[in-house]
Amino acid sequence: MRKIILICLLFLYGCASTVQSKLDSVQNNFANSNFEPTTTSDALDQDNLDLLINGTALFHADKFKESDSLFEEFNKRNINETSSSISREAGSLLLGGNVNSYKPYMMDSLFVSYYQIWDLLALHDFSNARVVINQSYERQRKMSQEYQEMIEKNQERISENSQIKEILDKNTGDWLAFSDIMNPALMYLSGIYFLDRGDFSNAITYLKRANGMMPENTFIKQDLENAQRKIRPTKTTWQFIETGFAPRLKEDSASLLLFNVGLVYFSFTTPYFNNNFTPIPNSELLANVDAMFMTEYKEYRINETLRSFASAASKTALQTTMYNSGSDKSLLMGLLSSVYAVSSSNSDVRTWATLPKYIYVIRTENLNKLNIDDNIKNDIDKNSNNLIYTRIINDKTTDIKIINLR
């Protein structure tokens, strides 16, 4: 019997690492220019994370309509990123973090809008691109409000759990985060959209926000000045360059001695960063996705860890009761409760693993300053405004899309 239980424990440990290997395989596929969706099932049947990963994969594969429709399905699910249902909480508490459908970060939802705008611009569907920009503005406004509420709640909760706070604060010195939910790349892209169309009032709104988020970026400043002076740029090309991969999460654990219960082992997540970085000549930083992720992750981490600790404490109490039950089967019951405790204590390590680490931008009227091969430059209409989307995944893989704004 003990052998069976040990095999079960090993098997369940294997299940916990499945999520990691799935995300590794998604990133490897990207690195090898394999942009096939992870599943061919209908959008309605796909998990939230599959919708995000497959939406980007289809975008890279130039299947813009299909990509847009997966992102639309994600939007229609109307997921509230900051609140949780009772069933969801119960699922996490009893069976661990990976049992529920993927709960997107607010950042994910803003990136959905970002990629949808690219999808629609690539399709030259300027009318619906405007609708998505409007949606993203509304989204960002709402998220900013919810984020501030979440910070207030968390500060209150964590102050009551100083030992957990101490564990979470270890090795976080190099974490960079913002004070609000934002996506400057989304704001700048929206600003360019309006500026190119001569809608200066809307252009100012978005460019001001982008400028506020990235005050060092001189290209944003230049466009904001243009919008304020009602000057529509001509023969200008904006190249957005995405590099690397966004942070991923790994499972970590710690223990705390709890009075009347014993030593409680609980799990939590820790981010790890992809540090492959190649400087892009003539470019300026537009978005630090690492910092965008950390802005909200550090808040969710408090919630998740407190939940994990509460769950682990109750399971430890169950184990102790089983082992000390005094019955003939106390050892068996104790082992079974241990299996349950190990199998159901995993933390949610899922993230939208194909998002970039950094987004750079080049704004130029001189095509020689762009970060693309000379033979591709011939595809650019020199007499009009253009947007170029570029994704540099590694030395071998680069995805380039040239969009004429005429």
Partner: protein, 199 residues
Amino acid sequence: MKKMIPIAISVALCACGGTSVVDLNDTREVDAMQHVMELEYRDWTNTAEKMTNSMIESGALKNKPVIAIGDIVNDTTQRIDSDVLIKKIRTTLLKSGSAQITTNFTGEDTNSDKARALRGNGEYDANTIAKGGTLVAPNMSLTGKMLQRNLKLDSGWFSSVDTRTEYYLQLTLTDLKTGLSVWEDEQPIIKQGTRAPTW
């Protein structure tokens, strides 16, 4: 009697769900349709009717102009095909005989160009091919915008209504000769409910 009760309950439950077709000629049935926060059939119909009447009554169409339908900017957070509104206005204008609509100029109809490309094609009777100088240029342009604003309401604990969505449908008729606006109108549609339509 006892046997009848479950049957009656089943019938009642069946009647609650399922699909039904609304008879658009029955005003009571249309009025009884459930209200939604998105723009829907009644909004389009009422707005188109008010807009068309306003245009006709303004006197801007007294010379039976040829109108080119231009851009209707969708500044909402919903993917709406502006044809839902415009088609109704066009058909009402055409039926009223107060204006004509060009479809060649706006590129909606490509067949009139294709028909002209047949000139010199021996397979076609030359007399049935449109002669040069027969297309009619527009002398007015109809453009517009659809706007949406979502407002949060200060609702009480027991109130399910917490959002107001204001839609504004704006149309402008411009005289192409002078570039002057000869008619403009705006129709607001205000809805209150639980959640602003975003997708």
